[in-house]
């Protein structure tokens, strides 16, 4: 009993990665001018309108006639009074701030092109901060990722490659439209832009190098500046920037949910498995993954503590012995390991 407890205590020194998390709160940007279409406390279903986004925000000045009881407030909506014959009679938008020294003159944020953005997740609206953000606590379980780019999206989860694979641009066709593709260890910017063009809603990948991320973001900016609104498309990076496969427990989870509707969130970066309870299985506490260092991506069983161990460049770090497949046990820095819970 004492020995078992001691072993369990020692395992606490290895960083834990939670595989699934419940009640994740997604944040959706609501910059000044955008209009929330939900109220705090209200329930939303996936696909319900969340906010009205202005694609061409601009500022105009309008005369705001008010009474003492009806004082205009920054952030409130404003529409011209009926029968108004001035130039601003068609202008509608959000009050920003009074123009100094100009009486009733106010700056108003408005625009001509408006799109309604749907909620990618089902859940409860926890907060609406005009000019800032909307927060929605999602139903179901979520898998957190390292980072994300693009916009939140929803689609059918499809496995395009094995966890070690790489998806080339030629491997994406219009048959994948509407899906969120799991593409293995890495992908390049060209494949990402092709996926977006083919109507794919999102990509889940283990790693995305900085160069590909920059290229994709530049492409995304051009897309947003285009006249016609593009459908939502996001990239979810599970691990980081250096190439490695999708972790085994994560790959098993994605395999289990293949074919179901999922949501890809950008802030925080996560994949939300809506509604259904996946009832996460008990994780083996001794199963570890090498997250970084020379053996990054390898998985195995941790055997015991190695104490302070001398590694490359004469650096002494706390380490553990790990057995990977049929290989001899090796000492791995504790900071390079992670286990799942």
């Amino acid at each position: 009993m004492t020995r078992q407890r001691a072993a369990a205590d020692w395992l606490l020194e290895i960083p834990v990665r939670r595989l699934l998390e419940g009640g994740l709160e997604g944040r959706f940007p609501l910059p000044p001018g955008d209009r929330p279409l939900v109220d705090p406390g209200s329930a939303v279903l996936a696909g319900d309108p969340l906010l009205e986004h202005l694609r061409d925000r601009r500022i105009v000045e309008v005369d705001v006639v008010s009474t003492e009881a009806d004082r205009p407030v920054p952030g409130s909506r404003w529409t011209p009074p009926p029968g108004r014959r001035r130039r601003d009679r068609d202008v509608e938008g959000e009050l920003l701030a009074p123009v100094p020294g100009r009486g009733n003159r106010w700056r108003l944020i408005t625009g001509d092109h408006r799109v309604t953005l749907p909620s990618p997740v089902a859940g409860v609206v926890t907060e609406v901060r005009p000019g800032a953000e909307i927060r929605v606590r999602s139903e179901g379980w979520s898998l957190r990722a390292a980072f994300a780019a693009g916009t939140a999206a929803r689609g059918t989860l499809e496995l395009a490659t094995d966890p070690f694979g790489e998806l080339r641009p030629g491997g994406i066709d219009v048959g994948r439209a509407g899906s969120i593709l799991v593409v293995g260890s890495r992908i390049d910017a060209e494949a990402l832009t092709r996926a977006r063009a083919m109507g794919v809603r999102g990509i889940v990948v283990a790693s995305l190098p900085g160069k590909e991320l920059r290229d994709f973001r530049a492409s995304e900016r051009r897309q947003l500046a285009a006249l016609h609104p593009a459908p939502p498309f996001g990239v979810l990076v599970l691990e980081g920037a250096l190439r490695r496969p999708i972790p085994g427990p994560v790959a098993a989870l994605l395999e289990r949910f293949a074919g179901q509707e999922v949501a890809l969130l950008v802030d925080p970066p996560a994949l939300v498995f809506g509604g259904a309870d996946p009832a996460p299985a008990e994780a083996d506490p001794t199963w570890v993954r090498i997250r970084s260092g020379p053996n990054a991506g390898a998985e195995g069983r941790v055997l015991g503590p190695a104490g302070l161990w001398r590694f490359g460049a004469g650096v002494h770090i706390e380490a553990a012995f790990v057995e990977i497949g049929d290989e001899d046990r090796m000492a791995v820095p504790l900071g390079d390991l992670e286990r799942y819970a």
């Binding site: 407890r5 901060r129 000019g131 260092g293 490359g312 460049a313 706390e318």
Partner: protein
């Protein structure tokens, strides 16, 4: 603490790692029994148990006398804990660039991540969007007093925009400075009284060299058990205990601190503090310029894209990849961060030079002591002679949380031999003329005198182990600056892991522009102090 348990745990929780030290009464004195660190998510109890187990194995007698013999027995030990969190964000807005600069300088050394905005020529919408960003906790708006001709037309807009932002977000802290801070004035009247976020009238950055404004902004951050504030308190006590002028250079994952404390008999030292998030190991605003700065210190031949990706990995898992190339990359990033910290705090260079410079923060944890000494010598370029130390156990900040000054002083006095790893000393003359020889150095140590020829531009290493002291006599051809301008000087220096570094390189350090040549030179300096590295 005096009449309580004979053991306590000091815990420094950072954003990347948690450091835990076990301190116990041995032969009537507080002594450091062990220290360790682990990734931020690892519970401190697990780290404490690691230390306890190690003590019980190595010295069962001491463990038993402190009631630390049994598993789990350290869990009940008293804790001295401090937490260092991510820096909050502040928008600093002014009418013109001229006014913005001193405001941003004060805010960026007060522990705030600064987002600078200028109204002149900017789109109002972009300014309003930045003010509405939920990540922004406070806004500092300022104008000259009296306002300059360039800012007068924009001051009305400045007040209205900030006031409108506080109406959207009543919790937003608004700080007004300069002419905007006139009590009962037109600008203050724009802000709703009684809202959750305060409206603060602050001094101008021109008052007292900006220090009153900096101190006020630092106070607005909140978070009393903040690790960096505790570090500042401990630095003042350390200066008092050692009776020396101490300067701390702390580099963390999300911020950095430069703290200087002097010492005078019978006086309580007031430390000078600058908290600079932009000097974090990897600041949030990481750009190509930051990458170039890291590349310029790197001795391993990695291309820019690879370095960028590895730094991104470092940001995601700061505790990982700490050996081999990873250690070198970390130290290159640390040097770049240290250079940013020193550049952001020029006012410290006006203070009397420190007798002891101490490196602190988790970034140094995995580097060998001599390599840390070289990193300090590479970046902290002030003429003079000084000792170098390392807060190896990250013990200073937790000790700074002891509220009673006398008790803190007593504990630190007893722990004085354990607090810092002695890295050695550095002698850094300025104003050397180029030539074959600048003169000679005579080292009078326990083993008899040794003579060293001094070559300008070089870095000489004199073996001087920890605990030893030695008299060094500089006999130079031309007068140089050692604080005073002189040709002959004799000084006492203390030994350490890096020995005595006689640093005759340029002040500031000039490195070759060509990448290969620069790497070669950096590697040659490092080879003597970090022989395990293969460049």
């Amino acid at each position: 603490m005096r009449n309580e348990q004979p053991v306590f745990a000091a815990v420094d929780r950072g954003t990347a790692t948690t450091a835990v030290s076990l301190v116990g009464k041995v032969a009537g004195r507080w002594r450091l029994l062990g220290s360790t660190s682990g990734p931020a998510g690892v519970p401190e109890e697990a780290l404490l148990e690691r230390l306890r187990g190690r003590l019980a194995t190595v010295d069962p007698g001491t463990a038993a006398s402190l009631a630390l013999g049994a598993a789990g027995s350290a869990a009940g030990a008293r804790r001295l804990s401090c937490v260092t969190g991510a820096a909050p964000e502040m928008v600093v807005v002014a009418a013109t660039e001229r006014v913005l600069k001193p405001l941003a300088a004060a805010a960026s050394t007060a522990g705030w991540r600064v987002r600078p905005l200028v109204l002149d020529g900017a789109e109002i919408l972009a300014v309003a969007t930045a003010l509405a960003d939920p990540r922004v906790a406070a806004v500092l708006a300022g104008a000259s007093d009296p306002p300059g001709a360039d800012e007068r037309p924009l001051i009305g807009d400045l007040g209205q925009l900030v006031a409108a932002a506080t109406e959207r977000r009543p919790d937003l802290v608004a700080v007004l400075s300069g002419v905007l801070a006139e009590p009962g004035g037109r600008t203050e009247a724009l802000f709703q009284p009684g809202r959750p976020g305060p409206t603060v009238l602050a001094p101008s950055p021109a008052t007292g060299g900006g220090e009153p404004l900096r101190a006020l902004l630092d106070g607005l951050r909140g978070g009393e058990p903040d690790g960096r504030r505790a570090l500042a308190i401990a630095t003042a006590t350390l200066a008092d205990v050692l009776q020396r002028r101490v300067e701390i250079l702390e580099i963390g994952m999300t911020g950095a601190a430069r703290i200087a404390a002097g010492w005078a008999p019978g006086e309580t030292a007031v430390p000078r503090v600058a908290l600079v998030p932009e000097a974090a190991l990897l600041p949030r605003s990481f750009s190509d310029a930051h990458l170039e700065a890291v590349m310029s210190w790197l001795i391993v031949p990695l291309d820019r894209l690879r370095v960028r990706d590895r730094l991104r990995e470092l940001a995601l898992a700061p505790w990982g990849d700490a050996a081999g190339d990873g250690a070198l990359l970390r130290l290159a990033a640390a040097r770049a961060a240290l250079a940013r910290l020193l550049a952001a705090t020029p006012a410290f260079d006006e203070l009397p030079p420190a007798d002891l410079v101490v490196a602190a923060g988790g970034v140094w944890a995995v580097a060998p002591g001599p390599a840390v000494a070289l990193a300090l010598a590479d970046t902290y370029r002030r003429a003079g002679v000084r000792g170098l130390g390392l807060d190896h156990a990250r013990l200073l900040a937790p000790l700074g949380t002891i509220a009673d000054a006398a008790e803190r002083h007593a504990v630190m006095t007893e722990l004085r031999d354990d607090l810092l790893t002695p890295l050695g000393s550095v002698a850094m003359p300025a104003g050397l003329r180029a030539g074959r020889s600048a003169g000679r150095l005579v080292i009078r140590g326990a083993g008899g005198p040794a003579v060293l020829d001094l070559a300008p531009g070089g870095l000489e290493l004199v073996d001087l182990p920890p605990g030893e002291r030695s008299i060094v006599e500089f006999d130079l051809r031309d007068p140089v600056r050692f604080g005073l301008r002189t040709r002959h000087v004799a000084l006492e220096v203390a030994g350490g892991l890096g020995g005595l570094l006689v640093d005759l390189r340029d002040i500031p350090l000039e490195l070759p522009r060509r990448l290969e040549r620069r790497r070669e030179l950096l590697a040659s300096w490092q080879a003597a102090l970090w022989p395990e590295v293969e460049a």
